[in-house]
Amino acid sequence: MAGTPSKRRRLARRLIRVLVFVAAVLVLLPQAESWQLAVVVPAASPLVAVASVLATRTLPWTACLGLAVGAIGLLRRRWFCRWACPVGLLADGATRIGLRLGRRCPHTPPLGQWIALAIIGGACLGYPVLLWLDPLALFSGPFSLLDAAPAKAAWWSAAAIAAVLLLGTLWPGSWCLRVCPLGATQDLLHRFCRWLRRTSARSAARPVSRQVDRGLPRRLVLGTLIGIGWAAAVRAVHARAAPCLRPPGALDETQFVGLCIRCGNCLRACPAEIIEPDRGQQGLAGLLAPVVEFREDYCREDCTRCAEACPSGALTPFGLEDKARVAIGLARVDMDVCLLGEARECSACRNYCPYEAIAYVWDEVQYTLTPRVNAERCPGCGACEVACPTTPTKAIRVHPC
């Protein structure tokens, strides 16, 4: 009779996990109106929340969600893994296959804890290294493949999830227990909590756990230092990287690349489909981070979706009234390409600019008409670049500020 409640409990847990999985999938599917909900999935990660708060030094509502999940984790060890994690569900399936194939997990160091600590350490410098390894981010990424205009680079995120499953099959349980930084964060939180409890009541200490916990402070310090060192190195190197066009509201380039978890929410939320994952144009550090490309459409003047859909704070949300001031870049004209340079008829950029930032200026001496971009008014929305009729090179292009 004692097995019945635990069996029932296991059944309920499995049911809830499946339900959460289905809900997460439904929310992430790129439908017209689900972009507002999609933010919930990656934002539920306490790791993303902590990194976001540390890196941006603000407390967005999305972080509150992750912090709440983390707070429960203080009391109940790895409850998120057991009850909710959709990647966990997939990894469990892989583990089961692996076990059936007779594979066993070798003893490995707690990589996940090192990663989690490095993330926290890096976040202190505004560059949470490897934050993209968060399972909820990994889970969100491949959904960009289902977008109306599928982002080819999203195959990379799909490959990452496939790698997780392969890991689970080859070394059953290794992802969740040893590698996953979110699982490790929960472990750390729980242990930290226990350590606190123990230091407050020193009497009841067991030798075994003391042995386990002895490595913890050292790991805490070392892991965090690795993160800080890594972030400092990246900041020094990346400072020289060519800036590129990021979605509106993006933090400064280095911080953005670090804090962006590559969940793909922004590119799926974009109604104009101008956000694409970086295919490594900006070096390895920027791989899969969103870049803006003005091919068919521009950043619409009535839209703030991408920043709202960002779970990590890499894009700072802004109101519609600030849209004109939140710059992606600045339009610049190449008079060697511009039709006006050859005195041909064109007024596309001026007519299409939603911010009335372009004026055509007549030079009485040179007898030339030149488009002039008012930097005060131009947020780099790209409407001019899309409208520009020159091919193959556009005469007016948005450049990073």
Binding site: A343, E345, Y360, W362
Partner: protein
């Protein structure tokens, strides 16, 4: 001796004319002229007319007195302006079976297309290269094809370039073919209006100030001179104004010599005449209705074009290039724009809005847009009756001005205005009450494209 004889002859002639003047009578003068053998050169002699109603200076103000104007003609549809829109309107209305009169301020048809030397046909195609300018505009291009040296680059997706003289000739041919009554060298200066209803227009010419009465008037002046005079509401806009020119001998540029030096900027685009290019020009963004501005621009532009050509000729290899002509007409791009019942907007273009009362489909200069429909309401003034706008002055928001003013789009709106005016006359109704379905049917019979 010869000298003295000559002087005597001269004195005798002087005496004769002095005698004639002294007589003061017209008949005597006439007789003198007859006697002198110069009869054919004298048509009329005017006496001082005491009741001439010319303006007078009264208390420092110039006052134009009330006077009766001679009505020189009565017609069904009066088209004012013989540019691409006006000529299409006249031909369309005539083909729709009504009596048509076309009035043009210069001595030729074609407006800025021929007189302004804007020789390239921009804006007849949409994305994918489809040609949306059909009907009379396409007929003109087809007929130019058949003329020798009249049009080049007539292939799908390309912007053809025409010869100005070929355009002038073709338009004469087509206008004579449909037997429309024509008045050239007539500047439409006023509308004949009772209340909100237009009954014709007043013209200034060498024959003086005259009136033509009409059942419906099509304002194809480009500047909206007629609707403005009739009291219709409009927007007055500035745009850059240039002066187009043609340059020759480009086929005699010495390539080898030109190699080393930078190519002169803006040598224009080729025309059907070998070695001759037409050179577009922009200019300051000014009010094209201000005569002092127009004067200043004419003067400045001419100076620049000449000096610039000297610079071109100093470039190694380009010594033989020469300035062939500057356009007779200053390149005014946009001035007045009607406030119509409907308005052509960029948002409608972006959304590819379709209208139940579509009367034409517009294209874009380089085919970079999709089809954009032009509703009939964009030709109809808000309040003024018996008047339709055609060409660049139809009701369109400022962002659309640069598309609406393109020559093929003027063909399209001119064609539609002509048909609508004819249907209004035939049905005895005001243009605003016209049966648009019927207009669309006639337009399609005349091979116009309506989407």
């Amino acid at each position: 001796m010869d000298d003295s004889l000559n002087r005597r002859d001269w004195l005798r002639t002087l005496g004769a004319s002095g005698l004639a003047a002294g007589l003061g009578a017209w008949h005597a003068g006439h007789a003198a002229a007859q006697e002198s053998g110069f009869q054919s050169s004298v048509i009329d002699q005017h006496e001082v007319q005491p009741n001439r109603a010319c303006p007078s200076l009264t208390d420092g103000k110039v006052i134009q007195p009330r006077r009766e104007l001679p009505v020189v003609h009565q017609t069904d549809v009066l088209v004012v302006g013989g540019g691409p829109a006006g000529v299409c309107a006249a031909i369309a209305a005539r083909r729709a079976g009504v009596d048509v009169t076309l009035v043009e301020r210069y001595g030729h048809f074609g407006g800025l297309w021929s007189g302004g030397l804007v020789l390239v046909i921009l804006g007849h195609i949409v994305k994918g290269g489809k040609q949306v300018c059909q009907g009379i505009g396409e007929e003109m291009m087809r007929r130019l094809d058949k003329l020798d040296g009249a049009i080049i680059d007539r292939r799908p997706g390309a912007n053809p370039t025409v010869d100005a003289e070929a355009v002038k000739y073709l338009m004469v041919e087509m206008i004579e073919e449909v037997q429309a009554k024509v008045f050239l060298h007539c500047w439409g200066v006023d509308a004949i209006v009772n209340g909100n209803t237009v009954h014709g227009a007043v013209f200034e010419s060498k024959s003086g100030r005259q009136a033509i009465l009409a059942k419906t008037v099509v304002d194809a002046t480009g500047d909206g001179d007629l609707f403005a005079a009739a009291g219709a509401e409009y927007e007055r806009r500035s745009h850059n104004i240039g002066l187009v020119s043609r340059i020759g001998n480009l086929d005699r540029v010495d390539r080898a010599r030109a190699e080393g030096s930078p190519k002169p900027r803006n040598l224009g685009g080729r025309t059907p005449v070998p070695g001759v290019n037409w050179v577009n020009m922009h200019g300051p963004e000014v009010d094209g209705l201000d005569v002092e501005t127009l004067t200043r621009l004419e003067l400045n532009h001419r100076k620049f074009i000449w000096k610039n050509m000297q610079k071109v000729r100093r470039t190694p290899g380009y010594e033989k290039v020469y300035l062939m002509e500057t356009a007779p007409q200053l390149g005014v791009r946009i001035t007045r724009v009607l406030n119509g019942l409907q308005r052509v907007t960029l948002d409608d273009l972006k959304a590819a809005t379709t209208f139940a009362d579509v009367i034409g489909v517009g294209g874009a200069s380089n085919g970079q847009h999709g089809e954009w429909q032009i509703p009939y309401g964009a030709l109809v003034p808000e309040k003024t009756d018996n008047l339709l706008a055609a060409g660049r002055c139809i009701s369109a928001e400022i962002r659309m001005a640069d598309l609406v003013r393109l020559i093929p789009n003027c063909f399209v709106t001119g064609h539609a205005a002509g048909v609508a005016a004819a249907v209004a006359v035939a049905d005895g109704c005001r243009p605003r009450d016209v049966d648009v379905k019927k207009v669309q049917r006639v337009l399609q019979e005349q091979e116009a494209y309506l989407g």
